[in-house]
C-alpha cells in the first residue's frame, strides 16, 4: 500500500516538473474571453504563430482585474493583457506596469490606419499605453421591424418622438421596453449604460467627460436629470415589462427575449451590439437583420447631436520583450482584426479592414454608424476608478430602480467617488 503510494507520487512529481518547464518564443496573454470569443481569439493566435513561429499562451479568466492586479503586485504580470478599459489603463500606468507602445508599434502606420479617437483613448500622460483592438457600440435600440410595421410605429429620431411613441404603444396596449439589470456580481451595468447614453445626449460630451473624471459632483443637477429620465421608464410598469421588480430580477441577456414571445411582451430593447449572440442562443430561428434590427438611440438635446457610446477590447503590454512587441504589432494590423470581427461581429478599429469580412449587413451598418457618429465616447463606468465605475455606480442604479430616493443614491455614489479619485 505504502510503496504503491510512493510510486504514484514520484510519477506525479516527475510529470509535474516536466510540465512546468517553459519553452522559448512564447508570449503570455491574459484576457476575459471565453466560449466563442476564446475560439475566435485562438484563431487569431494561430495566425500569429503561423506567421512568426512564436506561440501565445492564453490565460482566460473572468476575474481578470483581481488576478491581473495580484500578478502585477507579485512581479509576474502576463506579457500582454486585454484590460477592462481606460480607467484600468490609467491605474496601471500610475503603477508603472505598462510599456509605452510608442516604442513598440509603428506609430506612423498606426496614425494612418486608425482613427484618432482610438489612439486618444489609449493615450495617457504623453504615452500610448493601450491598443483598441475592436469596438462594440452601445447606443442601439433593438426592435422587430415586422411588429413596428404591423402596428404603425415609426422609428423615433428625437427623444420627443420617442416619448410620443412610448405613449402610442401604451395606448395600444403594448409595453415599450424590456430591461434586465441582473448580471451576477456586475449587476447594474446595463443601467449605467442607459444613464451614460442619456447623459451624453442631455449634457453633451464635454460635461460627460467632466462627469467621468469627477470634475462635477454626482449630485450635479445634470447627472440627476439623466437618472430621472431613466427612472421615468424603469419605475413605471406601463413603460417597462414587469415593472421595477422584473427589471432588477431579470438577467440582462434574458430580457431581450421578451421581444420574441408571441405576442411580444415588449417592443424595444436598448443594448450593445453583442446582444445578437444572446438573441441567437435563445431563438435559433430569428434572422438577425430581418426579424430583428436596430436604430440609434435618439438624440435628446439637438445641440449635442447624436453621440455614440461604446466600449471595446483594449490591449496593453506589460513586459518589454521582442515576442510581446511582435504580437502587439500583429494585433494592431488589419489581418488579426479581420479574423476577430468576422467570427464575432465586433467592429474593427483599423481602417484597412476589408468591409467584406463583417459577418452580415447589420454589422457593416454598425461599422458605418460608428464611423458616422459625431462623437464617440468610451463607456463611462469602464473609465472611472473601479470603486465607482464597477462598484458604487452599479449599486446606485440598482438602489434607485429599487425605489430609493435619488438624492440619497447620488450622495452615496458621490461619497465613494470623493475617496477614489
Amino acid at each position: 500500500m505504502k510503496r504503491s503510494l510512493f510510486v504514484v507520487f514520484s510519477v506525479l512529481l516527475v510529470l509535474a516538473l516536466s510540465l512546468g518547464a517553459s519553452a522559448q518564443g512564447v508570449v503570455t496573454m491574459m484576457g476575459v474571453w471565453g466560449g466563442q470569443e476564446l475560439e475566435a481569439f485562438q484563431e487569431v493566435m494561430e495566425a500569429f504563430t503561423a506567421k512568426t513561429g512564436i506561440t501565445v499562451q492564453f490565460e482566460g479568466t473572468r476575474d481578470l482585474p483581481t488576478l491581473l492586479q495580484t500578478r502585477i503586485a507579485a512581479g509576474n504580470p502576463p506579457d500582454v493583457a486585454a484590460i477592462p478599459g481606460p480607467g484600468a489603463m490609467k491605474e496601471y500606468v500610475e503603477q508603472g506596469a505598462l510599456v509605452d507602445l510608442n516604442g513598440v508599434l509603428d506609430v506612423d502606420t498606426l496614425t494612418n490606419d486608425v482613427n484618432d479617437a482610438w489612439i486618444e483613448l489609449g493615450t495617457y500622460k504623453d504615452g500610448l499605453y493601450a491598443l483598441m483592438f475592436s469596438a462594440d457600440i452601445k447606443s442601439l435600440v433593438w426592435y422587430r421591424p415586422d411588429e413596428f410595421a404591423a402596428k404603425g410605429y415609426a422609428i423615433p429620431t428625437t427623444w420627443d418622438e420617442m416619448e410620443a411613441l412610448m405613449e402610442q404603444m401604451v395606448a395600444n396596449g403594448d409595453t415599450p421596453w424590456a430591461i434586465g439589470l441582473e448580471s451576477g456580481a456586475a449587476s447594474g451595468w446595463p443601467a449605467t449604460d442607459w444613464i451614460e447614453d442619456i447623459m451624453l445626449r442631455t449634457a453633451g460630451p464635454d460635461v460627460y467627460d467632466q462627469w467621468v473624471n469627477h470634475e462635477i459632483p454626482w449630485t450635479d443637477p445634470r447627472v440627476q436629470e439623466a437618472f430621472e429620465i431613466f427612472g421615468k421608464i424603469t419605475t413605471n410598469s406601463d413603460y417597462v415589462y414587469g415593472g421595477p421588480i422584473t427589471v432588477l430580477a431579470t438577467n440582462f441577456g434574458d430580457s431581450v427575449a421578451e421581444l420574441f414571445t408571441d405576442p411580444p411582451r415588449a417592443m424595444m430593447h436598448r443594448q450593445a451590439s453583442f446582444i445578437t449572440s444572446f438573441i441567437r442562443d435563445a431563438n435559433p430561428d430569428v434572422e438577425i437583420g430581418k426579424d430583428v434590427s436596430f436604430f440609434g438611440f435618439p438624440m435628446i438635446n439637438p445641440e449635442h447631436g447624436n453621440p455614440m457610446l461604446g466600449a471595446g477590447s483594449m490591449i496593453a503590454q506589460f513586459n518589454d520583450n521582442p515576442e510581446a512587441a511582435a504580437f502587439m504589432n500583429f494585433l494592431a494590423g488589419p489581418e488579426a482584426q479581420e479574423i476577430w470581427v468576422n467570427r464575432l461581429g465586433k467592429l474593427g478599429t483599423n481602417n484597412k479592414i476589408n468591409p467584406e469580412v463583417y459577418p452580415d449587413d447589420l454589422t457593416r451598418e454598425m461599422a458605418e454608424l460608428l464611423n458616422q457618429a459625431d462623437v464617440f465616447r468610451f463607456d463611462g463606468s469602464d473609465s472611472m476608478p473601479a470603486a465607482v465605475g464597477s462598484g458604487a455606480f452599479w449599486e446606485g442604479t440598482l438602489m434607485y430602480v429599487g425605489g430609493e430616493d435619488l438624492a440619497g443614491v447620488l450622495e452615496f455614489i458621490e461619497n465613494v467617488a470623493v475617496d477614489s479619485y
Binding site: A16, G35, Q36, T61, A73, P78
Partner: protein, 287 residues
C-alpha cells in the same frame, strides 16, 4: 400507555420532519440545476425549470446537447488530467504531513507542544487571500509559479491547519495506555505511529481525505493565482469557467459542466462515505 408511546415518538417525528425539510431545501437548487442542464437554451431563456414538472414525461423537452457541447470542447481531457494531478498531490501531501504533526502534538511529550498546537490552530483564522501576493512573490523568486509542485505546496499550506486540528482531536481520543503498553513492549515512536495510530485512525483519515479532496477539486481561485490559466496546466474548474463568454454568454453550458465536474467528487464521497460518518463521530466521542 398509548399516550406515553406517542410522547416518545413525537420528537422522532418532529426530527424526521425537520430533516426532511432541510434535505428538500438543500436538494431543490441542485434539482433545478440538473433539470436545466437537460433543457435547450431557448427554453431556459423563457421558462423556469419547474415548468417541466407539469409534464415530466414529455421527453422531447429534454436534450443532451449541453453535455455534448461541454464534452466536445477542446482540452477537456487535459483539464481532467490536470485536476487529478493537482488534487491527488494536494490531498496526499497535507494529509500525510498532518498525521505526523498531529501525532507528535498529541502523543509525544515535549515542552512547548501546547504553544505550537495553539499557533497552528490560530492559522485557521488567516484568510488565504492575504497570503496571495507575498507567496506569489516568493514563488517567482524560486520559479515555482505555474508548476504543479508549487500548487501542491500551496494547497498543503492552506490545508494543514484544519487537517492537524482535526486529526489532533482524534488522536487525543485514543487512550494513552495503549501507546504506553506498546512502548513498554519495545516499540519505537515510529512503530507506534505506523502500526498503532494510523490503523486506528482510518475513519478520521478518510473523512479528512474527503474534505481536502473536495476543497482542492473545486478550487478555482488558488489555481488561477499560482498556476495561471493557460490550457496545458489549467484544471477542470478553469476550463469550465472559460466556457462562458465575457458577458456571460452560453451560461446554460455551465449547468451541464457543473454536473460533469461533480462526478469525481461524488465517486470519492460514496466510496468513502461509510468511513465519513464514523470519522466525524470519531473525533468527538470517546469510545
Amino acid at each position: 400507555m398509548n399516550g406515553q408511546r406517542l410522547k416518545r415518538k413525537l420528537p422522532q417525528v418532529v426530527i424526521n420532519l425537520v430533516v426532511l425539510i432541510a434535505v428538500l431545501l438543500w436538494f431543490l437548487p441542485t434539482l433545478g440545476l440538473l433539470i436545466t442542464s437537460f433543457r435547450p437554451a431557448s427554453d431556459v431563456a423563457y421558462t423556469g425549470w419547474w415548468t417541466v414538472l407539469t409534464s415530466p414525461l414529455k421527453f422531447t423537452q429534454y436534450t443532451i446537447e449541453n453535455y455534448q457541447a461541454v464534452l466536445s470542447t477542446g482540452g477537456m481531457l487535459t483539464a481532467f488530467r490536470n485536476s487529478f494531478l493537482i488534487t491527488i498531490g494536494g490531498t496526499v501531501i497535507p494529509v500525510f504531513l498532518a498525521s505526523l504533526a498531529a501525532f507528535g502534538l498529541s502523543k509525544l511529550h515535549f515542552g512547548a507542544r501546547g504553544f505550537f498546537y495553539g499557533l497552528i490552530v490560530l492559522m485557521l483564522v488567516v484568510p488565504s487571500q492575504m497570503t496571495f501576493i507575498p507567496v506569489l512573490k516568493l514563488y517567482n523568486m524560486l520559479s515555482l509559479s505555474g508548476t504543479f509542485v508549487g500548487l501542491w505546496l500551496v494547497h498543503t499550506g492552506y490545508g494543514l491547519p484544519f487537517s492537524i486540528f482535526m486529526l489532533h482531536t482524534f488522536f487525543q481520543s485514543l487512550p494513552d495506555e495503549l501507546f504506553e503498553a506498546a512502548h513498554i513492549d519495545g516499540a519505537s515512536v515510529w512503530t507506534t505511529f505506523v502500526r498503532l495510530a494510523i490503523p486506528l485512525s482510518v475513519p478520521a483519515l478518510a473523512s479528512l481525505v474527503i474534505f481536502q479532496f473536495l476543497a482542492v477539486w473545486n478550487d478555482l481561485l488558488v489555481a488561477l493565482i499560482y498556476l495561471g490559466g493557460h490550457q496545458s496546466v489549467a484544471p477542470l474548474t478553469m476550463r469550465l469557467s472559460s466556457l462562458v463568454g465575457s458577458f456571460g454568454q452560453d451560461w446554460h453550458l455551465l449547468t451541464a459542466a457543473a454536473f460533469i465536474s461533480m462526478v469525481v467528487p461524488l465517486i470519492v464521497f460514496f466510496s468513502l462515505q461509510k468511513y465519513f460518518v464514523r470519522g466525524l463521530m470519531g473525533g468527538a466521542v470517546k469510545g
